[in-house]
């Protein structure tokens, strides 16, 4: 290779490597802010501030959804397999919200350890299956074990 071309190649490789390293350090330093939500175990560990808008994500614990008979008020628990988090919500839930499916809620952590949510989003998984196949597999809930978010 011609020496001048080789020099330009080395300079460009350095440019890409150094700019990538810079961006890499920034994203590493900001990793907690890049996470879209806290997992329930972060709440259990006391890493989540009170009285500020925060997001929590996890698997809706099967049989934990309790609806009030006379209002939209609903309570449910989120889990990441290590800890559970109680959530209260009083608006319409998205269609794909279900027990055993993941959800991301936005709200405020109250002093009693529950989250009063003003938004609930359904986090669907990456599995696509025809209904017949899903029925024959029996297991329909995607994160019933709560491990994978």
């Amino acid at each position: 290779m011609h020496p001048a071309r080789k020099q330009r190649l080395i300079l460009l490789v350095l440019l890409v490597a150094l700019s990538s390293a810079a961006v890499g350090f920034v994203t590493y330093a900001m990793r907690n802010n890049i996470n879209y939500f806290y997992a329930p175990s972060a709440f259990a560990a006391g890493d989540v501030p009170f009285d500020r808008r925060i997001r929590a994500g996890g698997c809706v614990v099967p049989d934990s959804v309790q609806r009030a008979p006379d209002s939209l008020e609903v309570r449910f628990a989120l889990t990441d397999g290590e800890a559970d988090l109680e959530v209260m919500y009083d608006k319409l839930l998205p269609d794909l919200f279900a027990e055993g499916e993941a959800a991301v809620v936005t709200g405020v952590l109250m002093r009693d350890g529950t989250v009063r949510a003003d938004q609930v989003l359904a986090k669907h998984d990456e599995n696509y299956t025809p209904p017949e196949v899903a029925d024959s597999m029996g297991e329909n809930a995607s994160c019933a074990d709560g491990a994978k978010l």
């Binding site: 071309r5 990793r31 890049i34 996470n35 879209y36 269609d95 359904a122 669907h124 696509y128 995607s142």
Partner: protein, 252 residues
Amino acid sequence: MGRSRLAWEWFHRLGSPRWFYHKTGAWLPWLALASLVLLAVGSAWGLGFAPQDAKQGNSYRIIYIHVPAAFLALAGYYIMAVSGAIGLIWKMKLSFVVMRAAAPIGAALTFIALFTGALWGKPTWGTYWVWDARITSMLILLLLYIGVLALSRAFSREQVGDRACALLALVGTVNIPIIYKSVDWWFTLHQPASIKLTQSNSIDPSMFYPLLTMIAGFYCFYAWTLIAHTRSLVLQREWRTQWVQQALGEGS
């Protein structure tokens, strides 16, 4: 030895705008045919014949546009950045033209991926937009493409613009692995990838094959539009030369 020399000769000849223009004219109808057939078959298969999803019903079908567009938006960025690098290292004019041609196509594909993602998000997640790592890094990709487009028109001297665009494109390459791995590195609302290189896919084969057809169709469509756009930029750049006058004379 003989073969590698032949390869280098081809590489250098490809660097000549004139050779490129004459060589690629015959490819266009075939690429156009392949992309139209694949896209027609893939859309009909995906929208009409692939089964519903057990949870998402019919709304998952936007995957047949969303995923191929996102795929090519990412791959196209590497094509743009590598073309810029080749241009800088070998001072190859044509390479810069390919880089410039890739910018608007990539921007359009990124926009399509973001737009179809928003349409998909409303019925499934419950919102059009969230600022999670996947969606935000994809928005940064759109801004990078638009940045290259803007830079390419910002200089009165073409060579200065070529170099500035190539440097911006190369610095931006760091964003591509970030987009790709964002769903694994951080908690995001966006689900992880369904098409996996090392493990089995988490999308049923009856839904996967039409998706694969659409991805192939998008690749052909990308090649078609990139070559066609490069050819028109070559004519604009070289319009003073005799061969362009001749080529245009034959055409009219």
